[in-house]
Symmetry: C2
Subunit: 358 residues, 2 copies
């Protein structure tokens, strides 16, 4: 770390009251501190600092408000059974954030510095990490364009922030398979677009489909490809896996699918168990055919929030299929318990995925 | 207008120095005032106010920074030769902004109130409107999600702002045909996505292609469809027209193309002149074939900034075509002079497109 990159710390003199760990939702409460760093063309990233969490001043003409030049990441800190504070594969998030930067014409940052910043911030606010089963501290690094300019062009100035939010258990009443609507009208991303980057526009564009699906009684939508409306891409904001006739398959990374870190972990775990995993194109017709033939054994989404989210029912136009009798699959459960076990230190970590904060 | 919607005005006690009208760029300088209005779920839009232009406070967790829930418009105020201040078809912009709101799951606003707000703000800052040939006051209404929440869901609170920027002539050294690269890798928008809405993500995603094209010596990219990379969609951030064998053709509004107001005005003008205009699918191959056959007479982009932007050269992979000897076409020039003439009061306005501010 260069002198320029040294992280200064200004402690919050008025720490907030922490919420009860049994009443935590997702992403509504924030801790006492945040990390901030600024970028100026010519100077590079500068003024890395930890300061009290608070609103900041933004010019009404800031590029992020008009042209959405912004990228983000999401990861979690956990308290292990041994009371250690750990992160799960944070290096993967930092690499992906820089890949997103590249796609959005935004400046890369030093991943080592960012890992230091993550650890220092989490350590400072570690009293905020809830330790109830399934809870965690959600970490949101994000970078956005701040130049006041209405021309459509990459900004010459940026701000990078990391904020922290204690979050409740995703499965408050135990894991439950969800009902999914296959989306036939709206499209999340096209090859050649921004689908593989973690950037704002992908999420804004997805809200309408989610709204329609929820109104019809579904939890999430299953996204199909933009070209043929035929091949499966993601489910909600998660990657998706199917177990058919003993083989696990997942859509290959084609440029419009997010390179999920839980996705990658699931593939690596399955391979270490000697389980066949195939990354390839998967059509929605194939899934319905497999179900009709009785060979569709499990289906689940993967993501940082849920880790594993079993799908119990798929609805596609007039067709419906119930998966595994709407029960959690054996492999889904094993993956969930292994990954959350590694995250909380209850299960051995043969891959060195877990990084200690202190 | 209800009492709730009454616009309060707080004048800027420290007006800024106005830039010299011969040194104006685009979107870098802002006037003394801005319009602001807030939305709260349950209450609706409230606190419509004109206040001094200045940065505002935003929570680091505001949805706009993470999930890009934001829409905008762009239009211009002009000083006519009779020293009247006018707007060009502002009702169309307000309608489109509400259509964008709908796609992005954002709350509609009262278009009458917004037109009043536009006029009152422009009137207050009318000394900022440059009157040099080709200059104007650019008006940027925009709405963004302000709720501090990291869940991916429509915000429960929004802010609407209108800011003003005096802008220089688009064609400082006279109108010139530009070199365009046909984009074969990146995609602007897919049918089922957000391409027909004026929302941030469309612009963030387009920056990379523009960067690559500029580095190769081109002014803009010509976007092809996401499905087949075959049909023409837009050029840069403009709609596009071709004149082939006496007929004007433009890509039909297919859901991924922005419904440009200049596009609409061009079509209406041409029809009033008895000129055949066809809205249909236009393949890039057709354009190159027409050029080879000697029937491609003109090609131009249309948008608020340039009004008409003639294309002089198209590059598509290894193929190039020069259009109309790299000269401005007769019809392009007539459209430009008519529309800018109507905007500045030099040409009769048979359509009542122009709206007086005072």
């Amino acid at each position: 770390m260069t002198a320029k990159n040294k992280i200064t710390v200004k402690r919050n003199a008025q720490p907030k009251e922490k919420p009860a760990t049994d009443q935590l939702a997702f992403g509504t409460v924030f801790t006492d501190h945040m990390f901030v760093m600024d970028y100026t063309e010519g100077t590079g990233w500068h003024d890395a600092r930890i300061v009290p969490y608070e609103p900041f001043m933004l010019d009404p003409a800031a590029i992020v408000l008009h042209y959405g030049q912004t990228v983000f990441e999401g990861l979690k800190a956990y308290v292990t059974d041994d009371k250690e504070v750990v992160l799960f594969r944070p290096d993967e998030n930092m690499k992906r954030l820089n890949r997103s930067n590249e796609r959005l014409c935004m400046p890369n940052f030093d991943e080592e510095l960012m890992l230091d910043a993550l650890k220092e911030l989490v350590s400072l606010d570690k009293e905020w990490i809830p330790d109830r089963e399934g809870t965690s501290l959600y970490i949101r690094p994000f970078i956005f364009a701040t130049q006041p300019y209405l021309g459509v062009a990459p900004s010459k100035t940026y701000r990078l922030m990391i904020i922290l939010s204690p979050v409740g258990a995703y499965y408050k009443e135990g894991m439950n398979p969800v009902k999914i609507a296959v989306e036939s009208e709206f499209v999340r991303a096209a090859v050649g677009g921004t689908g593989s980057a973690k950037t704002a526009g992908n999420y804004a564009g997805a809200m309408k489909a989610q709204e329609v699906a929820e109104a019809a009684g579904y939890s999430q939508v299953l996204w199909l490809d933009a070209k043929e409306h035929k091949y499966i891409e993601e489910v909600g904001a998660m990657n998706v896996f199917f177990k058919i006739n003993g083989e696990v398959i997942t859509p290959s990374l084609n440029g419009s699918i997010l390179e999920g870190i839980t996705r990658k972990s699931v593939i690596e775990l399955l391979q270490s168990w000697g389980f066949p995993v195939t990354e390839r194109k998967v059509s929605i017709q194939e899934i319905f055919d497999a179900n009709a033939a009785g060979t569709l054994e499990e289906a689940f989404g993967t993501g940082t929030a849920a880790v594993i989210s079993p799908m119990g029912e798929l609805s596609w136009g007039d067709e419906k299929c119930e998966i595994n009798g709407n029960q959690i699959g054996e492999l889904s459960l094993k993956l969930y318990e292994t990954i959350t076990g590694i995250q909380t230190g209850r299960v051995e970590d043969p891959f060195n995925w877990v990084v200690k904060v202190d």
